[in-house]
């Protein structure tokens, strides 16, 4: 796991608070220099550098000229499918690959670009600059795995960094240290045990080991991702950045849409704003189907997109479909329960009862944990399919 790149990355992480401790216009430039250097280190060839920088720069200049942003976004999504190698799409269409590299953090870069493009026309012009845009896309705190900030919030935060003297350094370092333990000790342990269980299961399937695998894998994913966010949010804070929280006790969620409002929260927010809401609004305007039905359809499409965004294999398509079905179903069930209990207030009170709460949490977590198996393992092979 430890490579030269990750050593450099960790070094920069701990150097940055010192490099960025000046409160002046040079701060943004130093930040840009660090971000660009790290991107350059990650590149394998001149061609990859040219493609990466075209990918980043062209939308910036085009988005100021285009009246309709949708075309540009459509083109970016198609380019993303190709560059990120969605093999089950590209190969089945018989399109050849022209190069072998991948752009670092492209999934996150794409979502940030879409945020920028869609909001550009309504932004304060003073907030739009190439330096801000590059720092926003390439910020080394968030390039690998989020959180996905909003462009305007990011720029406002850049303009007004927190005074280092006001930061409780000890508690921040405590969080960072815990984050490292979550990633490198606890999640690594869960991961290595679950991999050996998976290998056993391939030879001989038994239900108990399968349950063990499901639990360990769910722990692995949570500890790894939330630990990573703890490190980045904490280290970002030491450099004066406010990076949004990404988790809020997700495994205590009482239904699937509650889960998504607690898990990878910045992604959920992004999907709500740019996938779910537009679908609902467009369908609602046609006035052909009821809003309730529209929401169920929109849920399904949104989580399909979420699944596909997470990875390029068919496993992620299945994961997306499972989440889509789950969230839509939980919405339908809740609507039914609200009616039966005579209103939202009664429904809320009902869900506070300890037994109801415990059952809801267990069911939700089980569903989530089972669907998370598709993240790490070839479940279809395991099922003998």
């Amino acid at each position: 796991m430890i490579s030269l790149n990750s050593l450099i990355f960790t070094g920069v992480l701990f150097l940055a608070p010192f490099l960025l401790s000046i409160k002046s216009k040079y701060r943004n430039l130093i930040f840009l220099l660090i971000n660009l250097s790290l991107i350059l280190i990650s590149m394998s060839s001149v061609l990859s550098a040219i493609i990466t920088f075209s990918w980043i720069m062209i939308p910036y200049f085009l988005s100021s000229k285009l009246k309709k942003a949708h075309l540009l976004i459509g083109a970016l999504v198609l380019g993303f499918i190709y560059l990120n190698r969605y093999d089950w799409i590209i190969s089945s269409l018989g399109i050849p690959y022209l190069f072998t590299f991948r752009i670092l953090g492209l999934s996150y870069i794409l979502f940030r670009q879409i945020d920028f493009i869609l909001n550009r026309s309504s932004m304060d012009p003073k907030n739009i600059s190439l330096v801000h845009y590059l720092n926003y896309l390439l910020s080394f705190y968030t390039i690998l795995a989020g959180p996905i900030l909003k462009y305007e919030a990011f720029v406002e935060d850049l303009k007004d960094p927190q005074d280092p003297k006001e930061i409780d350094v000890l508690s921040v370092l405590h969080r960072v240290f815990n984050g490292y333990i979550k990633v490198f000790v606890l999640s690594a342990l869960c991961s290595s045990i679950s991999i050996s269980i998976y290998r056993q299961l391939l030879v001989h399937f038994d239900v108990l080991s399968f349950i063990g695998l499901t639990i360990l894998n769910a722990l692995f994913i949570y500890l790894n991702f939330s630990g990573y966010c703890d490190v980045m949010i904490g280290m970002g804070k030491l450099s004066g950045f406010k990076i949004e929280e990404n988790f809020n006790k997700p495994y205590l969620a009482q239904d699937l849409s509650d889960f998504w409002s607690r898990w990878h929260m910045t992604l959920t927010q992004w999907l709500t704003n740019y996938v779910f809401n537009p679908i609902v609004v467009i369908f609602a305007r046609t006035e052909k189907i009821s809003l309730e039905k529209v929401q169920v359809v929109a849920f399904f499409i949104t989580f399909l997109v979420a699944g596909l965004w997470h990875g390029t294999t068919l496993n992620f398509l299945i994961y997306g479909i499972l989440q889509g079905i789950g969230v839509s179903l939980s919405k339908l069930i809740n609507d039914y329960r609200i009616k039966r209990l005579g209103g939202r207030k009664a429904f809320r009170a009902h869900r506070q009862k300890p037994l109801v709460k415990a059952i809801e949490i267990t069911l939700t977590l089980s569903y989530v944990a089972l669907s998370f198996l598709f993240f790490s393992f070839d479940v279809l092979t395991l099922m003998g399919m």
Binding site: N273, N277, A284
Partner: protein
């Protein structure tokens, strides 16, 4: 009915509360059921009622009833 009163009717309909009273500073914090789902219900019903259209970016930025009313005013004038 002024805009606030008309919007209030829509709020009462969406949140299923006949006695709900809103002011310019009412936000998602004040109404427990105001989540991303009911937010989009509000937006689509307001679009229909006032015969206006919001952009994706506007829907995202609406946080307070005051913002909403300002936006409706700017679009219906």
């Amino acid at each position: 009915m002024n805009i606030l009163e008309q919007v209030q009717e829509i709020f009462r309909d969406v949140f299923d509360e006949e006695t709900l009273v809103i002011t310019e500073t009412t936000s998602a914090k004040d109404i427990e059921d105001w989540d991303s789902l009911t937010h989009i219900q509000l937006v689509t019903k307001i679009e229909k009622h006032f015969k206006i259209r919001f952009t994706v970016s506007e829907v995202t930025k609406l946080k307070q009833v005051g913002d909403l009313i300002q936006l409706i005013e700017s679009k219906t004038l």
